[in-house]
Structures are given as C-alpha cells and as structure tokens.
C-alpha cells in the first residue's frame, strides 16, 4: 500500500536538506582539518620555539667572589657563610598552618623578629606566589641557626639556608685599601651589562681594591637552565654551569706591619706609607682613623653613616693618596738635588742664616728665629735651615726645582688600584699662568724652596720620593702582587735615575745627620739596635700664623690653639742607612711639628719593620730566618 504522499514529499525534502546540512558540516570539518594542518605543520617550528621559551628559564649562578689577601696569605676580605632562614608560605600551609602570621609566630619563638620586619615579611608574602621563598632573617649567628635547625620539625614551611656574604675580618686599619662592597646602583647597572648586576642580592665593589679590581674579583656568572611551569615554579634543573669564581687578589701589604703602623696614630688623624725601596712593594698604607667595611655590605644605617660623615677626622677618606699636604721641609732634598744638578750651587759654599731673609719687600723668617749661622748644604738639611733653601731656590729658579720634583715622583699619580688617588701639585710658571693667570714671582720660588706655597704632595708620593732618594732608582709603588694566576711581582729592577752618585751621597748624608748626629732635628727619633738605623727628614706645615700682636703677648705654644689650627707634622725616612730597604712617610694632621708628631711615629714604624726584616732576624738563628724567608716567598 502506497505511503502517505505528503509524508513522502516531506521525507524527500528532509533527505535533501539533511544532505545539504551534511555537506555544510563536512565543510566545517574541513576548516578544522585545515587549521590543524596550518598550526601543526605550517607554524609548528614557530610554536615549538615559543613552547620552549615558555618552558625554560635561565637562572644565574652567582660565582664566589675572590678573596683579598696580604702578602703572607692573611685574608683581608673573604666570603663567609651567611646563615639565613627562609619561609615558603605554600609549604607552611600544606603542613597545616593557616597563615603566614602563624608561621612567623612559631619562628618568632626561636629567632628575634621585630615588628617592622614581621610586617615587611607579611607584605612580601601577600605580593608573591606562595611557592617563592621569603627571607625571614639573615646573618644569624651559629647558635640561632642551630636552634632553628633543631626545631625544624615544628616549623612548617621554614627552610634554613646558607648564602655567601663579604666579610672583612682584619679590622678598620685596612678599610681604605680593601674598600667595601654594596648593593648595585642604577648607574653601575647602566655602565655594565654583566647580568649578575641585575640580581637584587648581588654586591659590587664600591671603594678601594674591591672597586678597582671588581671585574677580576667578581668572576663570571654561571647559568642554570630550569624547567618552569606557567606560575614560574621550578620543576627541575635541565643543565647547570657553575660559572667561573672570582680571582684572588694578593696585595703587597703586610697585614702585621699595616696594623702596627695604624696603631702608632692612637686616635690621631693622619696617614703613613711603608714601602720596600727596591721592589716598590707597599707594605703598609694607612689612613687613620678607618671605618668598618662590614657596615656597608647590607646597606649602612643612617646613624652609622651620619657618624662617619660628621666625624671631623674624615674616616672615609684615604688620606695616604687623597690627602694632599704641602711637603714642607721634606721637600728640601729635592731642592738640594735640583741645585746640585744646576751647577750653580757649590754644596760646600755656605749661606749665612741670621733668622730672616728679605726678598723684594717681603721679609721671610727661618723656623729658628735666632738663625743657624753659616750653613752649607749638608748642614742645611740636617738643621732644616729655611734661609739656605730660600737662597738656593731663588738662585736656581722654579723650573729646575719642578723638573727635579717630577723625577722623584711628585706631581703624578701611580695608578694605584685604589679609589681617590690624587696627583698633588708641582707648580711652575706655566702652571701658575694657567691656574691663577698670574706671573711667577721669585717669592713663589722661595716658598716652594721650603716645600710650601702652591706645592702639594700625597704621602704615597712622599714615600716614593724617599725610596728614590735612598736607592737612586726610579722605584714605582706597587700594591698588587698577584691576581689569580697572574704574577705581578717585579722581575726587573727599576732603572737608575740619571744623576751623579755624589749628589745622592750628599743628600743622604744630610738625612742621616737629621737623626743620627747631635743637633739634627729628629735626633730623639733614632732607630736603635744592631745594624738597624734610619735616615730621614722632618717637615712642618703651618696651618695658622700667630699675628705680631699675639706674639708680643709672649711665646705661643701649639697646645693653646684649637685642634684644627695646629700644624701638620710630616716625616720621611729610610733605613737602614747604609743599605736602604724600606722607606716610610708619615703625616699627622694637626699633630704639631714634624719632629714632635711625625718623627717618633716613623721611628716606631721603621724600628718594627727593620726588626721584622729577615736579614736582621738571621742574627737570632737560622731556623727563624728560614721560616721567615719561606714566608716571604709565599
């Protein structure tokens, strides 16, 4: 029987339309297939790269900073373990705590946690994913750290951790040499593309050797390739390269001599340099008072910084290379050398000193008001007669003096690996024209003749000058013995200064007499002991002149003056006299005259250095000498 016609019609219509719909569906499936093909074949490479970038993070591995050692291997700056306590909020929660506060309450029973620190930790915890460790406390002492470790089972989410922190163990007397490290500033970051500098915990050298040799001490960052998930959580480490640790820096400094030299200042402000006159090795470079470099590692507190900044003795300044003093009478050797070389002055010829000397319409005085009488060159050095040097200086002229000063290392810097090195001033006519737009007058020459006027030197230059006088060689100062495997000890002797030996003999004879001949200006500061001796020269820099009116009230003593108006005392010396090995230069700020403030300190330093010298110890026995020379080589 035929089916309902209308049903047949609608079945036909349905079939047509179902076919149409299937066709459309097939088309849409086709677009899906095309799209899949496009993504998985066409763009597969591009997306594989993106997936890999998603997956892999590169973390920096911080290299260990090189240590700074003295010549015998004493660590002046090293890395100590920094005991820290971290909290991983997620772990604390997983182990049953409901909040970071609860975790802090528990830890607070074991380590001291001030409120402000608590608040900072809670803020930090709120703003970072809960799997990121938060530093709760750094620099725990061993007892605290041990207590945390013992109680660890009761401290959910707490992780003890050991990091590395710079440590300066030997004290303040090396602070200006070693310098200190601190957090990286934006300026430092912009100037250096080392990725390590982007790490918030990274420390960079700020002063001294730490700063100048920072690149060598720093080492090279390693990398750790880790797989991370979308939240940044590290899943596993894929590859690791530990980087290159920083190189160790061995200084020429003898920490023992450095300490002993610093102790001589006993609270006074000043600077001293001890140098090996043959190698140029600086055995001590002291600037007093010093500061504690450890204060800067984690950011110095306002109070500590204010104390350093406002201290009138300027503890932050390295006075041995930054402090510029007129050399005073210590410069007279240079004037004598210049006079000898000029051929205009016969050293045996005498100048009569009656205590004053006139140039133009200015009257100058000798430090000894009653005068020295007839002075030849040797005795003028011994007595530090001003009139003699006024006379010969004006006779030979400033240009000869300036040229001689230059040959003895004044007016120049030595490119020390230190911050703040100044070059001083050795003035001449051209310099004055450039600097003051004025002609050079004979009176200026007279002032320079006794180491005053425009002349400025540093204690390092004074030591170099003394070493060159003592050896007749162009000794250059050296602070670094080795960096990593690079040996920087001198192999070649410094070239001889092209001046006749008798000039040196004459000047040295004067310097010997200053200390070791009755009537010299520093006879009380003689070095004693068999084979031990020192020659030298005092210097006094007047800071304040008493007026004629003040003088009429009676003789003035320096104790009556306020500290900052008192004279600077200077001294340069070398020893032993016959075969010089060491040079020393001392400046005591506002300490009074050179023979009173500087010479006794220089003596104490030289005495100590000479007694420590291996050759003087050989008298004590072969064993001590052997041990000592072995140490020297190390």
């Amino acid at each position: 029987m035929p089916r309902d016609v209308r049903d047949t019609a609608r079945q036909a219509s349905f079939t047509r339309r179902a076919a149409l719909l299937s066709l459309g569906t097939t088309g849409l499936f086709g677009t899906l297939f095309l799209r899949l093909h496009g993504l998985q074949v066409g763009q597969a490479e591009e997306f594989s790269v993106l997936a890999e970038e998603n997956r892999v993070n590169v973390h920096l591995v911080v290299p260990l900073r090189g240590t700074i050692l003295d010549r015998f291997g004493i660590e002046l700056a090293n890395n100590r373990q920094n005991f820290r306590v971290l909290l991983i909020p997620e772990d604390a929660r997983r182990q049953g705590l409901t909040s970071v506060e609860d975790a802090l309450d528990l830890i607070g029973r074991i380590v001291d946690l001030p409120d402000f620190r608590r608040r900072r930790i809670i803020r930090q915890a709120a703003s970072s994913p809960s799997f990121v460790p938060i530093t709760i406390k750094e620099n725990l002492d061993w007892d605290e750290f041990a207590r945390v470790n013992v109680n660890l089972p009761d401290l959910p989410g707490v992780v003890p951790d050991v990091g590395q922190t710079r440590q300066y163990g030997t004290g303040e007397h090396v602070s200006h040499l070693v310098g200190y490290v601190g957090a990286v500033t934006q300026v430092e970051q912009d100037a250096d593309d080392d990725p390590l500098l982007r790490l918030p915990s990274f420390r960079i050298g700020k002063q001294g050797v730490e700063r100048i040799l920072d690149r060598r001490l720093r080492g090279a960052a390693g990398t750790s390739r880790v797989e991370v998930n979308a939240g940044g959580r590290v899943i596993r480490e894929l590859a690791r390269d530990d980087g290159t640790p920083g190189e160790n820096v061995v200084l020429t400094i003898d920490e023992d001599i450095q300490r002993h030299t610093a102790e001589q200042f006993a609270g006074e402000s000043g600077a001293a340099v001890v140098m090996d006159v043959n190698s140029g090795d600086i055995l001590a470079m002291v600037s007093e008072p010093g500061f504690d470099p450890n204060l800067f590692t984690f950011g110095i507190s306002h109070a500590d910084w204010a104390a350093l900044r406002d201290n009138p003795l300027n503890p932050m300044l390295n006075k041995a290379i930054t402090g510029q003093y007129p050399p005073g009478s210590t410069f007279k050797m240079i004037v004598a050398m210049a006079a000898l070389e000029s051929g205009l002055i016969n050293p045996r010829q005498t100048v009569h000193c009656n205590g004053h000397w006139r140039i133009g319409n200015v009257e100058k005085r000798c430090w000894r008001r009653q005068g020295h009488g007839a002075m030849n060159m040797r005795n003028a050095i011994k007595n530090s007669c001003d009139i003699y040097f006024y006379e010969i200086a004006t006779q030979i002229g400033i240009e000869r003096i300036a040229a001689m000063a230059d040959r003895f290392g004044l007016g120049q810097d030595f490119d020390m690996p230190l911050t703040g090195e100044r070059s001083g001033i050795v003035p001449n006519a051209r310099w004055k024209r450039g600097q003051h737009d004025e002609a050079w007058y004979p009176g200026d020459t007279a002032n320079v003749g006794i180491g005053q006027g425009y002349l400025l030197t540093t204690q390092l230059q004074q030591a170099v000058m003394t070493a060159r006088l003592a050896t007749g060689r162009e000794v250059r100062p050296k602070l670094v013995r080795a960096i990593g495997s690079e040996d920087r000890t001198n192999v070649v002797r410094a070239p001889a200064i092209d001046l006749p030996q008798e000039y040196f003999d004459l000047v040295r004879d004067g310097m010997d007499a200053v200390i070791n001949e009755a009537g010299g200006t520093a006879t009380r500061s003689a070095v004693r002991g068999e084979g031990l001796s020192m020659a030298g020269k005092t210097g006094t820099v007047q800071v304040y002149s008493f007026s004629a009116a003040e003088r009429e009230d009676g003789p003035r003593e320096f104790d009556e003056l306020p500290w900052r108006l008192r004279d600077h005392g200077l001294f340069v010396g070398y020893g032993p006299v016959d075969a010089p090995k060491y040079a020393v230069s001392v400046a005591v700020d506002h300490g009074g005259g050179g023979s009173r403030a500087a010479a006794p300190r220089a003596r104490a330093i030289m005495q100590y250095v000479l007694e420590k010298d291996p050759s003087s110890q050989s008298a004590l026995g072969p064993v001590a000498a052997a041990a000592s020379s072995a140490g020297e080589q190390g």
């Binding site: 029987m1 309902d4 209308r6 049903d7 019609a9 609608r10 079945q11 219509s13 349905f14 079939t15 339309r17 179902a18 719909l21 299937s22 569906t25 097939t26 849409l28 499936f29 677009t31 899906l32 297939f33 799209r35 899949l36 093909h37 993504l39 998985q40 074949v41 763009q43 597969a44 591009e46 997306f47 594989s48 993106l50 997936a51 890999e52 998603n54 997956r55 797989e227 991370v228 998930n229 979308a230 939240g231 899943i235």
Partner: protein
C-alpha cells in the same frame, strides 16, 4: 494494513531482539572516543587515574546504562514525552534563574541535594525532542505557514533567552543553532532562513549591549588576539602554541610541556583537545575528529533510514548537537572562534555534558532500533 501490522509487530518486539538490533559499530566508536578521553585525563593528572580518569570512567559506565535504557524505550514513548520534557526543562531554567548557584559569573546550577543539575543541558535534549514532535505533525506545506512558524520560534526563543540571561553564551548559541538546524530540516521556506539571517546580523549591535564584560572581552580578544596577550588572549595563545608545538606526531603521550607545566588553562575540560593535539600531534587530532566524523555519518544514515519523521528529526537533531559541540570546542581552542565554554563530547572531563551526550546517543540508537516503526502524522501520545 501493512503499516499497522508493522506497528503491531514492533510493539511486540522483545528486549532481546532490540538488543540484537543494536548498532554495535556505533557503540564501539563511542567507547573508543571515550577511551581516548580516559587516556588524556590520565595524562592530565601526570599519569594518575585520580582525580579525573577514574571518575570519568564511572560516569561513562553510567552513561552506557543511560544509553541502553534510552535506546530500548520505544520511539513513540519519546514522542509522547517530548512536550512534557520540554515543559519541565523550561520550568527548571526559570527555577535556575530564580534560585540557581552562581559559578563563573553565571547562574547555571540548581542544587538538588547531592546533584548539581544543569537545566540548560536538559534543554539541549528536550528542545530536539519538542521540535521533532512539533514538525512531526506538520506537512511540508504547513511548515512554512506563518502561523505555524510561531510555535517553533517560541520553543527556541524562550530557552535561548533564559540561557542567555544566566548568562551562558555558549549554550545559547548551541541551542539556537541546533534548533535552527531542525527548523531547516523540517523544510521551512528558504525566505524565512534568509530573513532571520538578515535579522540576526541586524541584531548584533543590540545583542552587544546585553553581553557581559567578560563576554565582550572574549569577542574583542578573538578579533584581535594581540590586544591583551597576558590577559584574555593568553589562553588562546598558549593553546595555539601547544597545538603548533605538537607538530605532526606530537610530543608524545604525557610529554606535552604546555599542558603539564600548566601553560594551558582548564586542560582537563575545555582545552583537552589542545592537550591531545600537543601530545599526539596532527595524527592524533585528525584521528579524533575522524572518529567523530564517522559517528556523525552513522547518525545521518540512521536518520535517513528511519521511517517516522519524528525519528528522522530526532536523529538529525542529535547529530547536529554533537557536531556543534565538537566544532565549537575544536574551533575555539584553535582560535577560530571566540572562547566559549563548550566541552569536547566524551573526552572532556565533566558529568553533565557526558549524560547529555549519552542520552543523545541513546535516542539515536532508539531511532536505529525502531527505524521501521512508523508513527502517524496525527498521532498523539503513544499510550
């Protein structure tokens, strides 16, 4: 009459004979697709049956039971239940609007003790049944009669409106497209289709006003994915990276870095196809889509072979719904259409959509088993 005799014969069919008439091939394909889903859920959990794969298997087992029961029920019973089911689904949609649980910024659930009921899912089946029931009673000429057009419009418009109010754009679009497809299949005049397409385009600016901010963002981000690569566009970008990185043969089962390192969002539900494409590559993705295509082809064949118009429409309705799920989900994770929350049927983790799909397959199977049952155009309730 032969017709009556046939009808009588089918009425007397035993359950065993019905089971014997099962389309076992279809059932096998369904199980195959579900098994792919289990494997992917096992991979999502980094090689653990918990928490997803095992529960999905239990749900699928329940789904198979539902499929069997639904398929054994005579197609005329479904015809009779069509309107009541639709009315109930509509009521529940209203109820969810009044007392529903809020999730993802939309009201979708109705908490009935331990069961969270999603009335919009019920509606997907009920709408197919109701429309099929309605058009079953009309001749070709009647379908396009202006007055006859109003009821189906209402049947589609009411639930779509309610679902959009939740607001659930994805389900709304699914209902609209599914219902529209049935109207089309019923033979409505082309002019209605052209007219409503034009009206739809005209309504876009108005509809825009009713979208939630997050929905607008999704559309804007779809139109320009670089607009916000770390925000709304992030998911789609990561999904495309995952699919692309899969290449032809994939990163390997359980080796997808994008998925396992959490760069993919919702990877056990809406983005599971992405994970499959990353781990099993184009081969795996083509394979899964191919299986769906074969299932759809079987479904269309079932529809064409059915004698009753109701059966044909129900079968095609189920096919269209399944296709829409697959297409919308796959197109979404590949960045072809904006992000809408539509799962990949049988593969995505989730109980409600699994039940909807299995119920649909049950209806399809019922149509297949009762393909020779004719239902008079004017037939009312079966019992």
């Amino acid at each position: 009459m032969v017709d009556l005799a046939l009808t009588d014969f089918s009425e007397r069919r035993s359950i065993l004979s019905k089971i014997g008439d099962f389309n076992w091939g279809l059932l096998f394909l369904i199980c195959l697709v579900a098994s792919i889903g289990f494997a992917m859920l096992y991979s999502v959990a980094d090689g653990n049956w918990d928490p997803w794969a095992s529960r999905q298997m239990i749900r699928f087992a329940l789904g198979i039971v539902v499929l069997f029961i639904v398929s054994l029920v005579d197609i005329r019973v479904w015809l009779g239940l069509a309107y009541p089911a639709f009315a109930m689904a509509l009521l529940l949609l209203v109820a969810v609007e009044i007392a529903g649980e809020v999730g993802m910024g939309a009201q979708r659930w109705l908490s009935l003790g331990p069961i969270n009921l999603q009335p919009s899912e019920l509606m997907k089946i009920a709408l197919v049944l109701a429309l099929a029931r309605y058009f079953h009673g009309l001749t070709v000429d009647e379908v396009s009669h202006p007055l006859r057009v109003i009821p189906p419009l209402a049947m589609i418009g009411l639930p779509v409106g309610l679902v959009l109010m939740q607001p659930d754009l994805g389900t709304g679009m699914l209902l609209l497209a599914g219902g529209g497809a049935l109207v089309f299949l019923a033979g409505i005049n082309w002019w209605y289709l052209i007219g409503s397409a034009a009206a739809g385009v005209a309504a876009i600016p108005i509809g825009w006003q009713f979208l939630q901010d997050y929905q607008r963002n999704r559309v804007l981000t779809f139109l320009n994915p670089e607009r916000d690569p770390l925000g709304a566009g992030y998911h789609i970008l990561q999904s495309k990276i995952a699919i692309g990185a899969g290449g032809v043969f994939g990163q390997g089962f359980m080796q997808g870095t994008q998925s396992h390192l959490d760069f993919l969002p919702e990877k056990q539900t809406d983005f599971i196809f992405t994970m499959l494409a990353e781990e099993l590559g184009m081969v795996g993705a083509f394979g899964l889509l191919g299986l769906y295509a074969i299932i759809l082809a079987i479904g269309v064949a079932t529809a064409l072979n059915a004698r009753a118009h109701f059966s044909r429409l129900v079968a095609m309705g189920v096919c269209v719904t399944l296709f829409l799920y697959v297409f919308i989900n796959a197109a979404m994770v590949m960045g072809l259409i904006p992000v809408v929350g539509v799962p990949m049927p049988l593969v995505s983790y989730g109980g409600t959509s699994m039940m909807t799909i299995m119920f649909g397959f049950g209806l399809l199977m019922s149509v297949h088993i009762h393909r020779d049952v004719d239902v008079p155009r004017r037939a009312g309730a079966f019992w």
